[in-house]
């Protein structure tokens, strides 16, 4: 078993690690995430379907785990929030009206919308790729992205109003 676990780390570890580092914005946090992601994957492997690739499956587990970490950190202390806010990537960074930190959204919008937004805006995945990872149709991906944009813009507008 240990040999197999080592094989898993050798094969998929680099991808999981890089993804965790990208979302968490912190090297040590990414190493901490690795073990949790692999344990979750092994515990939940009954849920793994052969029609998904292992990489696809691990992408999703890593994304959701990192969301949890960001959410917990954000709730814990303002200091951590500030630290992560500086490092965590921006969602929709190309849209000057909607430069929103993932951390700002994570408690404000439903996780299924944030997840798809991350795949689209941070990972630059195609709608077909997102559909494969999330297990929904490309049409649903498009709808959720649209909903994300509308709700994020509304959130952004209300914050701007409050600041004025």
């Amino acid at each position: 078993v240990s040999q197999s676990i080592e094989d898993l780390y050798q094969r998929f570890g680099p991808v999981v690690y890089r993804r965790a580092r990208k979302l968490l914005g912190d090297d040590q946090a990414a190493w901490d995430a690795l073990q949790e992601v692999f344990i979750r994957a092994l515990r939940g492997r009954e849920a793994f379907r052969g029609d998904a690739s292992p990489t696809t499956w691990l992408y999703r587990i890593t994304t959701n785990y990192c969301f949890n970490v960001l959410r917990d950190h954000g709730r814990r202390t303002a200091k951590l929030r500030d630290h992560h806010a500086a490092a965590v990537p921006m969602v929709a960074p190309d849209d000057p009206e909607l430069r929103v930190s993932l951390l700002q959204l994570i408690d404000q919008l439903p996780p299924e919308l944030c997840e798809i937004a991350v795949y689209s805006y941070i990972d630059r995945m195609t709608q077909d790729e997102i559909a494969a990872v999330v297990g929904v149709s490309p049409r649903t991906v498009g709808n959720r992205l649209q909903e994300f944009l509308e709700r994020a813009r509304a959130l952004w507008a209300s914050r701007t109003e409050a600041a004025q």
């Binding site: 570890g13 994957a41 492997r45 052969g50 990489t55 990972d123």
Partner: protein, 252 residues
């Protein structure tokens, strides 16, 4: 017009060497930008693999999923004495199984199928996530069940053939509720490559193996040979089931 560059997600499927990432491979072969990005990702991957923090992490993960189980030792001896494969293969599997399969994997009490693969080199490993094996590899199975019953492991291969991998007997084998236990016998994979659905069934009654195989075959016909949509519960009422998807590769 050339197609747009691949996302890191698509390139990651090459980093992890996924066998079905053929379109990604073809794109990279003709795209200098993607080839350069893939090289960079592979260099990062090599650096990760060489990182001194990795071995302790593997050890901690192993610790997190391992435990000592004395009943397992009894099972191992029984299984070894009933070995139907070469002694060397049994010894290799014994070595593997003296470290029991992860208890957390079955802590919630659902039916679970563990698949072990012996490569022609003699190396034995548990198939975890990737679930790929080649023609000529030998598979053995272990099943954990929350209820007493009678067990079988069936295969629906890429060509739509339904067969029983275990037990090699006219009727399903009795199995007691509890953690994962090895089933007698092994099966050598044939040359039919592609996705193969392995189904572990635990039934309340000791059904004839042929009847169960025939029921699954009929259900496969009903769904026009689409193994993914095969409804095992419909085919085998009174039984619980779980699936393991295997990618069967050509003989290496």
């Amino acid at each position: 017009m050339s197609s747009p560059c691949l996302s890191d997600f698509a390139l990651d499927r090459l980093v992890t060497d996924e066998p079905d990432a053929t379109s990604e491979r073809a794109h990279v072969a003709g795209c200098a930008a993607c080839a350069a990005r893939l090289d960079a990702l592979r260099r990062e991957a090599d650096a990760f693999r060489a990182d001194a923090r990795l071995p302790p992490l593997v050890a901690r993960t192993e610790q997190a999923v391992a435990s000592v189980s004395s009943p397992r030792r009894r099972r191992i001896r029984r299984w070894a004495s009933a070995s139907v494969t070469a002694l060397a293969a049994a010894a290799a599997l014994l070595l593997l199984w003296t470290r029991p399969p992860p208890p957390e994997l079955r802590a919630k009490g659902g039916l679970q199928l563990d698949v072990f693969c012996k490569r022609p080199s003699g190396r034995v490993e548990q198939l975890l996530l990737s679930g790929s094996a080649a023609a000529g590899d030998a598979l053995r199975f272990a099943v954990a069940t929350p209820l007493d019953g009678f067990v079988a492991v069936l295969s629906v291969d890429a060509a739509g053939a339904v067969s029983s991998y275990a037990p090699d007997a006219p009727a399903l084998a009795p199995i007691a509720a509890g953690p994962s236990r090895a089933l007698d016998g092994s099966v050598e994979l044939d040359e039919t490559v592609g996705r193969e659905r392995l189904i572990a069934l635990v039934c309340k009654e000791r059904l004839p193996t042929a009847r169960v195989v025939e029921a699954v075959r009929a259900e496969l016909d009903r769904v026009h040979g689409d193994a993914e949509h095969l409804d095992v519960a419909r085919a085998t009422p009174g039984c619980t089931s779980t699936t393991f998807w295997l990618t069967k590769l050509p003989r290496s």
